[in-house]
Amino acid sequence: MGASSLIVLMIAAVAFSGIAILVSKLIVKATKNKHKGQPYECGVPTKGPNWVQFNVGYYLFALIFLIFDVELVFLYPWAVVVKKVGWLALVEIVIFFFILFMGFLYAHKKGALKWV
């Protein structure tokens, strides 16, 4: 430990990305074709210009979706231990849901779920 570990960290960080780029440069045969420039596994090819403005409503929906997404992610570890911890776990998850529900209620009352 000491200064040497810091220097090792810095060198490792640069080397890790540098070597990866260098190796791929060295071993890949450069080809150019129509399909290479296409987005990889990102849905259907776009039609027309893709720099269009999105309706701001999309972002509101995405944010509210995020609330429930995170809620479900937290349900998994909770479900694993709920039997072991018992009633306390149930109370805690209800409190957790309540907090998120308040957020949802606020968004609903402010009209964030209405598509204008």
Partner: protein, 464 residues
Amino acid sequence: MNALLLSALWGVVMMFSSFLVKEKSAIRNMAVAGLVLLLLVNILEMNGKVFFDINTRGMIYFDRFSLLFNSIAFISTFIYFILSAKDMEKVGDNYAEYFALIFFILCGITLVTSFKSLLILFLGIEIISIPLYILTGSDKRNLKSNEAALKYFLMGSFSTGLMLMGIALIYGAKGTFMTFVPPATVKEAAQATPASALLIAGMILLLFSMSFKVSAAPFHFWTPDVYDGAPSVFTSFMATIVKAAVFASFIRLFNDAFGAEKSQWQLLVAIITAATLFIGNITAVFQQSVKRMLAYSSISQAGFMLFALYAMNGDGKEGLILYATAYSLATIGVFAVLIKLKDFSFEGFNGLSKNQPILAATTTIFLLSLAGIPLTAGFLSKFYMLKAAMETGQNLWLVIFAVLMAAVSVYYYFRVIQAMYFKDGDVSPDLTVSPAFKTILVFLAVLVILLGIFPGLLLNWYYF
């Protein structure tokens, strides 16, 4: 702990009041009532009555210093609300949300003044920063406000990244997130790692990111643009209460976590202090807009507050408490008057003494306090800071430099006074201010003078 929970709860209450309560005056009264409640429970906690006692495993610890600082933050916010809350109506439609965000910021302030774990520090800084980004951009149709919010967000996230990197390195060196490790384990750690470069590197990263948050040079570049672009009411809040609270956490961090490595960072802090004083004061001289001048003046005042960090002794802590109060009160007062005016340039103040003698007189007192003229709180707080720096016995050039820079600051503060009293002008003749507003301003000015004569009124709270 009382204030921490209540402020978060009241933030949610204010959020819901946006569609439950129709009248704007009712919302305003709710916010003021919440703040009085906050102040009350905080003072009760100072007297040993803790309503909520949650076991945080030592990650949060409310001591005298943090409780007093919270009280100062709440009192300043209270004064800020009754002076400027009405002007928030002009910013946008989401009146109740502005209060909700301010209560969330207060929640973050109670965290950063009382942390014992670096994670809580990070959490608190983020809870403060994110509502501030929103408040900066709350004037949605104004391009300058948008630009300021984006700038603040990008630069703020970057500095938060630095802070996280620093915390990670310190965790690597110490093996714990706690800022203060009990002596027994410190000895073991000291034997295991005699000169830990990891700890020093982490400390410097934390120093830089905290300097960014308090806008110390050379990390101040965001300050003028953000303070200028944000709606004036919110500039007033973030330049005073938030900055003072972040300073409290700055001191707490370096006192608890890096007190033993003082010799390593003291010179660095001295250089940052000198640079902050120099850049803040010299650039403020050339400003045409009073709002922008106040932004630079807040940088130079931050330079003086850095003396408490540099000295890191009892006088420094006392001085910081006094300085934060004096600076907050005076700046809130100046901003409250500035918001009422339409023209933010120096010419906007021309002839104010003829139209509004009380406004002009109180503004003069606030500006005198900011400049550090005797009989005002600003003088005594600067005195405490310089005294604390003298006690360390080294780097005396810094003290002399600070006095010189304070003299420079007189120039740009007095330009406003000159405009108000000695220049003819008939600016804002339609300016109407309520008698209540004037009364609060006079009360604030009296407070500034009282603290300048009897600093014990405030500092006794630190001990008893």
